[in-house]
C-alpha cells in the first residue's frame, strides 16, 4: 500500500516536471508522460488477483485523530476499478493531447494541469478517509476549473469555468458538512470502518440532513438535474479534457461517492426516491437535449448527462441487479464516451468544425477513426455485439425486477434509449458514412497519436462485448462486491435467451430507427423549439442569480465601506461606546460606593490645565492653536502619570504626543485656510458622538476603580521580574520578556502601518504626476 502512496507522489512530481519536459522534450514527451500513467495502470492491474479474492488494503497516516482526520488510502474492488479507469484513460488522453495540443502556446501548462487532475482524481478514488477524499475532490474541481478556462482569452471559456467551479465547489462544501455529520454519527471517517456502521447512520435522527448534504456534493459533481447545465458549458475546454474529465472520470466522482456510501447510507426510502427521481429526470432531459443539438461535442455532453442520470437511477433502485448494471454501464460509458470525445477533438482538428450540419462522410478521409467511432456509437446505442448491449440489457432487467415504480422507470429508460439509438445512427450515417462534406479545406488524415486512443477504446468495447465473462471476473465482480458484499456470483454473457428484456430491446431499436429516419425533420424543429420557444436557460438563470448577488454585495460594500474616514471612526466610536454603555448600565448597581480621595494642589492645577485646553481646542478658530491645545491636553495627562508614578507610560505618552503634534503640523501646513466645512447639524452630531465616547470613558474609569481585578497577575510580575527576567523595570520586562510575542506582533503591525502610509502617499504622487 505504501507503493500506492509512492505512485501518487511520483504522479505529482511528474505533473510539476511536465512543463519542462514538454517544452524541452519535443515529440516524445507526451508519450513519456503517457508511460508514467500507463505504468500506474499496469501496476494497479497487478492488484486485481489479490483484490478479487475479497481482500482490501488500508494505509493510514494519523493527522488529527481527535477529529477523525487522517490521511488514509484504501484499496478494494471499487477503488481499484476506478483507479484503473483513471490511469488507463489518463495514459490514452496524454498521448492524444501530445498531438492535439501542439498548436497551443500554453501546452506545457495544459500538461501540468491534466497531470495534476490525474493525481487528484486517483487520490480521490483511493482515499480511505472521507476528509482525504474531500481534499482530493476539491482539487479535482480546481483543476477542472483551470482546464475548462484553458482558453482564457475567450470570455465564454472563463464564464463556463467559473460556473463549473461555483457549482461543484458549492456542492463540495455541502458535502463536507455532510461528511462532518457522518463523522459525528459514526465516530470515524475511515471508509473501512464506516462500511461497518451503516445501521447506526441509517437509524440516526440526523440521517436525512446528512444524506441531503452528501447528495448535494455528488449531484453537483455528476451534473444531475437541476445542476446539469455546467457540463455542456464545460465543453469550452479542449477536447482531451472533455474526454478525460467531463465524460470518463471527474463527472463520475459523484457516482463513485454514491457507490462508496451506498452500503453506509443506502437502502432507505429516502435514498431510493431521491436518487431514482433525480436520476430519471436527468436521464430523460439529457436525452432530449442531446437529440436536439447540432454541435458534436454538445451532443456528447448531453448524452453524458443522460448516462450519469442512468447511473444515479441504477444506484437509487438499489437492488443486486441494478448495482451490477450500474458498474457495467459505468465501464461501458467510459469506454465509448472517452473514444467519442477524442474523435470529436480529432474531427475538430482536421476539419475545423464540429457542426453536424456541415460535416459528413468522414470515413473517406479518416477510415480508422471512423471505424472506431462507429464501434463506439454502436456501443452507445446498446447494440450487439458491443459491451453497451450487455449494459443496456442489465439496466432493463433491473427496471423489470422493480415492483412499484419499475414500469414508469422502464418507460423512461426505453424512451431515453430510443433517443440514444437514433442519435447513434444519425451520427454513424450522417457524420461517418454517406457523401463527404466539409466546410473548409479537404480534411487530412489524422496523426497516429490521435487515432491510437479512440481505436484502443473502441477495440476494448468490442472485445469486452465478445468475452464479457473475463472482465466480469477480474474487474467487475470485486467492484460490485465492495458495494454489496452479499452478491457472490456474477456472470455476464452477450446472449440471454429470448425473454421480455430482449423484446423491449427490439422495440427500442425499432423505434430508434424510426426516430433516426425522422432525425433530419425533427432536429431543426427541436433546435428551433429550444432556441426560440423555450427561452429559459438554466445557465442564464444561474448567471442572473449570480449577478443579482454581486449587485447586492456591491451595494452592501459601498454602504459599509463609504470611503470617508469620519464615518469609519464614527462607526467604531458609536459601536464601542454603545456596547460598553450597555454593559456599564447593566452592571452599575454592583458599584456600591465610589470613594474619591481629595486631590492635591498639584493635581488640581494639572486638571485645570487639561480642562481649559480642551475648551480652547473646541472653541478656537485657528487650527494651529487648536492642535497646540490638544497637545497641551496630552502633556497634562502625561504629567498626571508622573504624579502617580507611571514614569514609563508618561515618557512614552509625551514623546508620542510630540510626534503626533509634529505630524499634525506637517499636514496642516498643506491645508487651505480655516473655513467652516461642516454644517451646524453635522457639528452637533459630532458633539453628540464625542460626548458619548467621553462619557463612556469616564464611566469606564470610575468602574475600573471598583473592580477587583485578579491581583495575582500583577503580583506575579512584581515577584518574578528579577528572578525570571533579570530586570527591575516591570513595564519593560513585560514588554520584552513576559509578553514579548505580543510586542513582536505590535511592531509588525507598526511596520505594516508604515508600509501602508508609504504606499498611499507614493501611489497618490504617481497618479498626480500622471494627470
Amino acid at each position: 500500500m505504501t507503493g500506492i502512496l509512492i505512485y501518487l507522489i511520483i504522479l505529482l512530481i511528474t505533473a510539476f516536471l511536465s512543463p519542462i519536459l514538454i517544452s524541452k522534450g519535443g515529440k516524445t514527451a507526451p508519450w513519456l508522460l503517457g508511460m508514467v500513467s500507463a505504468a500506474g495502470f499496469a501496476w494497479l492491474l497487478g492488484f486485481t488477483g489479490y483484490i478479487s479474492e475479497g481482500n482490501s488494503l488500508n494505509y493510514t497516516i494519523e493527522w488529527l485523530p481527535e477529529l477523525y482526520l487522517n490521511f488514509s488510502l484504501y484499496l478494494d474492488g471499487l477503488s481499484l476499478f476506478f483507479a484503473l479507469l483513471v490511469t488507463g484513460m489518463g495514459a490514452l488522453v496524454l498521448v492524444f493531447s501530445g498531438n492535439y495540443m501542439k498548436p497551443y502556446a500554453m501546452k506545457h501548462r495544459f500538461f501540468f494541469l491534466i497531470l495534476l487532475f490525474e493525481f487528484a482524481m486517483l487520490g480521490m478514488v483511493l482515499s480511505g478517509n472521507l476528509f482525504t477524499m474531500f481534499i482530493f475532490w476539491e482539487l479535482t474541481s480546481v483543476s477542472s476549473f483551470l482546464l475548462v478556462g484553458f482558453n482564457h482569452e475567450k470570455p465564454e471559456a472563463r464564464n463556463a469555468a467559473l460556473q463549473a467551479l461555483l457549482i461543484t465547489v458549492a456542492g463540495g462544501l455541502a458535502m463536507m458538512a455532510g461528511f462532518i455529520m457522518l463523522g459525528q454519527m459514526a465516530g470515524t471517517l475511515e471508509i473501512n470502518q464506516l462500511l461497518k456502521s451503516g445501521d447506526i447512520i441509517r437509524n440516526h435522527p440526523h440521517y436525512l440532513p446528512a444524506l441531503l448534504l452528501v447528495l448535494a456534493g455528488a449531484f453537483t459533481k455528476s451534473a444531475q438535474f437541476p445542476f446539469h447545465f455546467w457540463l455542456p458549458g464545460a465543453m469550452q475546454a479542449p477536447s482531451p479534457v472533455s474526454a478525460y474529465l467531463h465524460s470518463a472520470t471527474m463527472v463520475k466522482a459523484g457516482i463513485y461517492l454514491l457507490m462508496r456510501l451506498s452500503p453506509v447510507m443506502g437502502g432507505t426510502p429516502e435514498w431510493k426516491y431521491i436518487l431514482t427521481i433525480t436520476g430519471a429526470i436527468t436521464m430523460i432531459l439529457g436525452g432530449y437535449f442531446a437529440y436536439s443539438q447540432t454541435d458534436f461535442k454538445k451532443v456528447l455532453a448531453y448524452t453524458t448527462i443522460s448516462a450519469l442520470g442512468t447511473l444515479v437511477l441504477m444506484l437509487g433502485i438499489d437492488t443486486d441487479i441494478s448495482i451490477k448494471a450500474a458498474i457495467i454501464f459505468l465501464l461501458v460509458h467510459a469506454l465509448y464516451k472517452g473514444a467519442l470525445f477524442m474523435i470529436a477533438g480529432l474531427i475538430d482538428k482536421s476539419v475545423g468544425s464540429r457542426d453536424l450540419r456541415k460535416i459528413g462522410g468522414l470515413n473517406k478521409v479518416m477510415p480508422v477513426a471512423s471505424l472506431a467511432a462507429i464501434i463506439s456509437l454502436l456501443s452507445m446505442a446498446g447494440l450487439p455485439p458491443m459491451i453497451g448491449f450487455i449494459g443496456k440489457e442489465l439496466i432493463y432487467e433491473a427496471k423489470f425486477a422493480l415492483p412499484d415504480i419499475g414500469n414508469l422507470l422502464l418507460v423512461a429508460g426505453v424512451m431515453t434509449n430510443i433517443i440514444m439509438v437514433a442519435i447513434s445512427l444519425a451520427l454513424i450515417f450522417n457524420l461517418f458514412l454517406g457523401p463527404l462534406k466539409y466546410p473548409g479545406e479537404r480534411p487530412t488524415r489524422p496523426a497516429f497519436a490521435l487515432r491510437v486512443g479512440p481505436s484502443l477504446l473502441a477495440g476494448i468495447s468490442l472485445i469486452f462485448g465478445l468475452f464479457p465473462a473475463t472482465v466480469a471476473d477480474f474487474l467487475l465482480s470485486p467492484a460490485i462486491k465492495s458495494i454489496r458484499p452479499s452478491i457472490d456470483s456474477f456472470k455476464l454473457s452477450l446472449w440471454h435467451g429470448f425473454n421480455e428484456v430482449l423484446l423491449v430491446s427490439f422495440i427500442t431499436v425499432a423505434a430508434g430507427v424510426v426516430l433516426f429516419l425522422l432525425y433530419r425533420k425533427i432536429n431543426p424543429m427541436l433546435t428551433h423549439l429550444n432556441t426560440e420557444v423555450i427561452t429559459f436557460r438554466f445557465a442564464d438563470a444561474f448567471n442572473k442569480g449570480l449577478n443579482v448577488f454581486l449587485y447586492l454585495t456591491k451595494r452592501k460594500t459601498s454602504f459599509i465601506q463609504s470611503g470617508y474616514q469620519r464615518f469609519y471612526l464614527m462607526a467604531i466610536f458609536i459601536m464601542t461606546s454603545v456596547l460598553a454603555w450597555y454593559q456599564l448600565i447593566y452592571t452599575w448597581p454592583e458599584i456600591e460606593s465610589i470613594s474619591f480621595s481629595r486631590p492635591g494642589m498639584f493635581e488640581m492645577i494639572i486638571l485645570l490645565l487639561i480642562v481649559s485646553s480642551t475648551i480652547i481646542a473646541v472653541l478656537i478658530r485657528s487650527r494651529l492653536a487648536a492642535i497646540l491645545s490638544l497637545g497641551a491636553v496630552g502633556y497634562g495627562i502625561g504629567l498626571l502619570f508622573i504624579v502617580y508614578g507611571a514614569i514609563d507610560v508618561a515618557i512614552t505618552l509625551m514623546l508620542a504626543e510630540t510626534l503626533v503634534l509634529v505630524l499634525f503640523m506637517v499636514v496642516i501646513y498643506h491645508l487651505p485656510k480655516f473655513t467652516n466645512f461642516s454644517s451646524k447639524a453635522s457639528r452637533l452630531r459630532d458633539a453628540a458622538v464625542a460626548l458619548l465616547v467621553g462619557g463612556f470613558m469616564t464611566g469606564l474609569v470610575l468602574k475600573a476603580g471598583q473592580l477587583n481585578l485578579n491581583p495575582k497577575i500583577s503580583d506575579f510580575y512584581v515577584e518574578n521580574a528579577i528572578p525570571l527576567a533579570h530586570g527591575s523595570n516591570i513595564v519593560n520586562v513585560i514588554l520584552v520578556d513576559f509578553r514579548a510575542l505580543d510586542t513582536l506582533g505590535e511592531i509588525t503591525v507598526l511596520v505594516i502601518a508604515a508600509i501602508g502610509v508609504v504606499a498611499l502617499l507614493k501611489l497618490k504622487t504617481k497618479k498626480g504626476s500622471a494627470t
Binding site: 510626534l659 533579570h726 520584552v736 509588525t748 502617499l761
Partner: protein
C-alpha cells in the same frame, strides 16, 4: 522654517539625542526607558533635523534608508526568538549570558536585550518613514 539658529541647534542636538536614546534604551531593563521610548527619541531627533533642513538632508544624515532600519529591527526581534529553540526551551524564552568585562564589570547579555534593540530600530524606522513621507507630500 530655514532659520540658522534652528539649523545649528538641530545639528548639535542630533548626536546628543541619539546617545540619549541609546542610554534610555539600555537602562530600560531596570529603570524607566526601553526600546520603544528610545526609538521614539531617536526618531524625534531626526524629525527635528528634517524640520530644520529638509527631509533629503535628514535622510543623508541617517545614511541608511529608514526602511532598512525597519528591516533590521524586525530581523533582530525575530532572531532573538531563535536561541531559545536551540537551547531546547519553549519558543521566545529569554536566554542570558554573563560577561565579565574589565573596567565595566559584570555585563549581562540576553535575548530580551536583542529583542528590545529590534523594537528600538523598528519604532525609529517606522516613525521616521511615516513622518518623512508626510513631510515630503
Amino acid at each position: 522654517m530655514k532659520s540658522y539658529i534652528v539649523q545649528l541647534a538641530a545639528a548639535r542636538l542630533l548626536p546628543v539625542t541619539l546617545i540619549l536614546s541609546l542610554l534610555v534604551f539600555y537602562r530600560g531593563h531596570n529603570e524607566p526607558g526601553g526600546g520603544f521610548i528610545g526609538g521614539l527619541m531617536a526618531a524625534a531627533g531626526f524629525i527635528f533635523y528634517a524640520m530644520a533642513f529638509d527631509t533629503q538632508e535628514a535622510e543623508k544624515k541617517l545614511r541608511v534608508s529608514p526602511l532598512m532600519l525597519i528591516v533590521a529591527g524586525l530581523s533582530f526581534a525575530f532572531i532573538s526568538t531563535l536561541p531559545s529553540l536551540f537551547a531546547g526551551n519553549p519558543f521566545f524564552t529569554g536566554e542570558w549570558i554573563s560577561l565579565i568585562i574589565p573596567l565595566l564589570g559584570k555585563l549581562k547579555l540576553g535575548t530580551p536585550l536583542l529583542f528590545d534593540f529590534g523594537v528600538y530600530l523598528t519604532v525609529w524606522g517606522v516613525i521616521v518613514t511615516i513622518i518623512f513621507n508626510v513631510m515630503e507630500e
